[in-house]
Amino acid sequence: MTDLIVRPTDADALAERLLTTQSPQRPQSAPAIRLEVDGRVIEGREGQTILEVCRDNGIEIPTLCYEPKLPGFGACRMCVVDVEGEEQPPISCSRAAEEGMKVQTQTEELRRIRATNLELIFSDHNAYCLPPCQNKCPSHIDIPGFLKANAEGEWRESARIFKRTIPFPSILGRVCPAPCETHCRRDEVDEAIAIRDSHRYAGDQVIADMAAGMDPPVPFDLQPRTGKRVAVIGSGPAGASAAYYLLINGHDVTIFDRDEKPGGMLRYGIPEYRLPKERILDREYESITRLGGVFACGKEFGKDFTLDDLQNQGFDAVLIAIGCYDTNKLGIPNEDADGVIDGLEYLKIATLGLEYPGHRGTRVVVVGGGFTAMDCARTSVRQGCAETTLVYRRDMKDMPAASEVHEAIEEGVTAIFQAGPTRVVTDEANRVTGVEFIRMQLGAPDDSGRRRPEPAPGTEFIVPCDRVLLAIGQGPDLRWMGPGNEGASATKWRRLAVDAVTFETGRPGVFGTGDVRMGAQTVVQAIADGRRASYAIDAYLRGMDLGELRTRQTLAEPQPEFLSIVPFTGEVKEPRIRLRSMPAEERNHNYVEYEHPYSVAEAVAESTRCLQCTCEAIGFCDLRRLGIEYGTTLRTLEPQHDRGAGYRSVSENRFTGVNHDYVRDDSHAFILREPARCIDCGRCANVCAEVVGAACYDFMRIGFDTLVTTPLDMSLNDTPCVSCGRCAETCPTGALMPKPRILQKYDVDESRCILCGICVDACPYDALRCGPDFELAHTSREHPMIDLIAIAALDRETEMTYVRRERDWAERALAEGRPVRPDRLLPVLPAGITSGGGNGHNGHGGTPGGDGAGAH
């Protein structure tokens, strides 16, 4: 508008404008007014808006564009309220409160209007809360976080980030089925990131450092010793993970195991060629003993000691993590014939590289499709069996261990799919001579989404063999229940009955975790479960209310809400860097780990491929919070069939249409701009122009393409930005965020610091605090340490902050009688309103796992 030159206004008008654009004036001398809101008479002052009066009186009206420092803006239309006698609902942020006004804030129509507005926003919101990989990981590892550390060659920092949720990066780097990788967004560009191989590399560097005498990194500050003693029964992944976090929390832990050495299924269920025992397992388990954990091996629960014994010995809490060792039966004729072997029994000997008696030269049939079946088959090949046949009743793609099947076939295993055993064929001496199978055809999909196999009559066939290894899943051995162990009970699915959130059994002070309560699951699930149980026990030992724990439990579970999978078409294509395997003919007769690790350059290069799909605003995002309250977000990546076909992302709702995919601006040192997360509320523009005076942002372009951004989308560095961070502070979403991972890299040069304290006062994120030296200059400083990484310490303290915020919001919503959709509740919500009995997680809430194929 070149023709428009603003006339110089007279001084009075300028002053008037400045006044009206600063904080709304609320003179305490203004006369009081009374109005009725939601049937309640409340008091305000003349000149206040309806919104201000309501907020002062604790009545919540949702807003997105409202900035308390400035007059109402009116862009988001979320704060609409009903005023009696008015046809059009006014917006409460701009409408002055009047004496005697009758206001409704939560009518059905208002909620509908707000929900529509939210849906409209989401339909153009090409973003996500948690990255899909982190969402999919049962333990919700901060994957972008450790990959970023990897990319910078910070292996110990990478391992430290990893250990916040899983203590064993190297073990998981070998045995995890890596569900994260199947949801990696990089897959849309070229290939998924090798997430598992990347943390394996970082973990291996830590192990190498241990040889040089360095302690492995500990993810959190070690808590002062509490003097409380915990007995963990079972040293498998669940028990070990629980022990690890209990030790960090300051408790004394003794871990009992019936076997000679700790590790449980990791040691006795996973072959050496996949998980080297001395080089990796023992080293990573050392992180428990280095923290003071004690292993008491060779002591079998139920035989050598009981719960009574443990509690009499003064253990304040007991955790049962004995796993699943009771192999399921096929329920077919001749199952007890000579030569039918329990797969786990077999592995227990064979995984240590010991010859299983009489195995060489035999023909073996392995029944099952899980990791146990795969290990049985591949180990049998290594032990010199003449023929190894793996038979699975479903299709190959539905196999739990599908990722490994090609390697098994390379090594010489014959695989038969879609065949189920009908009987074991024996000779007169009841020795196995073969197994009869029947062809399965695929029927209708079952609960797991896989098509249910059904026998096709008349298609029976016999596979001749000498030995049958059964690996069709396991359940827990619960025969210890009874005298000395009263109080613990079993569920109808033959699992230990454990509260899914507090992990309590029926016996006070006794908890249960891992496979014993979930049924056979993967290692990563067991570890996640163990960690959650440790927090429950910690709370119990500290005398906290376990009901409260339902909320606290979630501190480790930053649950995703909406996710969107958007192709990043502009990215440079780089293929994934794969681990090289030994040739099949070389590896099929030895137990050496068959995958060669990355070189340093490869490990860095692979991690650099990560797109860093993380939203730093998770937990602070008003859009997400309102989306949950108004039921307009999605919880999973899976298609939501009840909401129409294939909704997979937040932008897919009834308004789905064209949407924007903006490039993020990473150029500024402290402020990250993610325009894809911008909802055009204008808060940053208004605050920057009216409060700060820099005016870096404004509404740019027109119509649907309007975006609040810098002129010409230039870098923030080229604007009058003063790096005050107020824009990021006011942003209701993750469109403008401080860069914690960058901030933490700044160092104070203490030789030059004059203790002025200006940096501390200026920093809007409390990234800088005063240290003891500052005490000399400013006696009122509270935090006696220079803590440059306060913002980056995204540890439990920080996580708690946002859990608390979310909980407070939910509690308020409930207290005010606003409906909160139970099917969308985060597990951060207060006790009593979490839906069902599950722990808020799909898949491992206590139901028996799938078709129970052996799982690690």
Partner: protein, 443 residues
């Protein structure tokens, strides 16, 4: 130049009287024809409050689309708190299909200047502005010249007609997009800010230009003021519909033989107004009229007896809007037309509010899906629901009115819409790749 349609002899010409003068800038000729008689009368006879009272009796309402009583607006401004007031004449004719304001500003610049001067006198404004769309170069030139000549003649400027009152008028070309036609956006434009509307209340009469009480009137409204003051309120009140008296200048365009503008008494049936523009083009049949410009309602022939007045039009789902009446014949697909209009509104949105920025685009997409054969099962319901929610949470008139074209299709042309949605055929043979209905089945 747009044609001025001939109207029946008895119809008064308030705004368009004097159109076609050989030199519109000839002040002497204009004064001889009665220009500035109103201003003189207001100053010498009525005084500020008397002038407002006179306007109230005349029943003049805003012609910019809002139909708000002009006298009330002036009264609110004159009595609002503040020492400095402004008058802004809105000459930003946003609707791309109308040239009524342009014709007035070019043909009778002195009528506009007089109207602004009377308003400024009545509310007590010293500085007034005529904000003209910058593309209207000739209008800007003529208005500036008219202001200069009137000031030189002492009709406006310092010490107007020896009263001691100063009435300065400045012609401001403004450049922007469609949204600049909205009054709060226009004020932002004059202030040099991004053109986005403000929540009302407070209305500009309370807090307008630079936060001061401001009257914003359409130039066409102001163009009638001089006549009313000169000829008396009763003369104006006697014209047309007794409830909302006066005349309105409309522009009839589309599939008619003689498109042009015409001044018609309010309450004239639509059929008669359309008839002013001659027969339908080359023997085609009238299928629909779009009443109210790009945000107008699309009405079928059976609604042509509707009187052209605010309340009656609202009842049938249309509005006066920019004064545009677009005639469509049977070669037009109303779904396609409504989609085009909605998309235009969506693309011209200022982008401030969610329902407008995203909602209008989604509304247009529903239409685009219908005309391209990609309709979703719930689209008609979605159309109705979304329109309702946009109207309910709208910030300004734009998003509220922009839902009109598609909702009027739902209301009057549902069978044609259903042909698109259910059978992927376009009876008018316009939409592709929606299959074109065979000639025989076109009804």
């Amino acid at each position: 130049m747009t044609t001025l349609l001939s109207t029946p002899a008895g119809w008064p010409r308030v705004v368009t009287a004097g159109f076609g003068a050989p030199d519109p800038l000839d002040l002497d000729a204009a004064v001889a024809g009665g220009a500035f008689d109103g201003l003189k009368k207001a100053i010498r006879t009525h005084g500020p409050t008397g002038t407002i009272a006179l306007l109230r009796v005349s029943g003049l309402r805003g012609r910019g689309g809002g139909s708000y009583p002009t006298a009330e607006k002036w009264h609110a401004c004159a009595t609002a708190e503040g020492s400095v007031r402004h008058v802004v004449a809105n000459g930003y004719e946003a609707d791309p299909a109308t040239h009524v304001a342009r014709a007035l500003m070019e043909e009778r610049p002195y009528a506009v200047v007089e109207g602004v001067a009377i308003a400024a006198f009545a509310v007590g404004a010293t500085e007034s502005y005529v904000a003209v769309r910058a593309e209207y170069g000739e209008a800007v030139r003529r208005l500036r010249e008219a202001v200069a000549r009137a000031e030189a003649a002492g009709l406006i400027g310092a010490n107007v007609l020896g009263t001691g009152r100063d009435i300065f008028i400045e012609v401001r070309p403004v450049r922007g997009a469609y949204m600049l036609g909205e009054e709060t956006v226009l004020l932002k434009g004059l202030e040099g800010k991004r053109g986005q509307p403000e929540q009302r209340p407070p209305y500009p009469t309370e807090k307008g230009l630079w936060g001061r009480p401001t009257v914003v009137n359409d130039v066409v409204t102001l163009g009638a003021v001089g006549w009313i003051v000169a000829n008396g309120a009763e003369a104006y009140a006697a014209i047309g519909d007794p409830a909302t008296p006066g005349t309105v200048v409309v522009q009839v365009a589309g599939a008619v033989e003689e498109p042009g503008i015409a001044e018609v008494p309010i309450g004239t049936p639509l059929r008669e107004i359309v008839g002013l523009a001659g027969k339908m083009a080359s023997g085609h049949r009238l299928k629909a009229v779009v009443v109210g410009g790009v945000t107008g309602g699309i009405l079928p022939p059976r609604e042509l007896d509707t009187p052209y007045a605010a309340a009656a039009l609202r009842d049938v789902g249309a509005h006066v809007g920019s004064g545009s009446i677009l005639v469509a014949d049977e070669r037009t697909c109303v779904v396609d037309l409504a989609t085009l209009l909605t998309r235009y509104c969506a693309d011209e949105a200022c982008g401030k509010t969610i329902p407008c920025r995203i909602g209008l685009r989604r509304l247009a997409e529903i239409g685009e899906r219908a005309v391209s054969g990609h309709a979703r099962p719930n689209d008609p319901i979605l159309l109705a629901d979304l329109s309702e929610d946009i109207v309910a949470s709208a910030l300004c008139g734009h998003e509220r009115a922009a839902t009109t074209p598609l909702t009027s299709v739902l209301r009057y042309f549902r069978p044609e819409l259903d042909e698109h949605l259910l059978r992927s055929t376009c009876p008018a043979g316009v939409c592709h790749p929606v299959a074109v209905a065979s000639a025989g089945s076109a009804t």
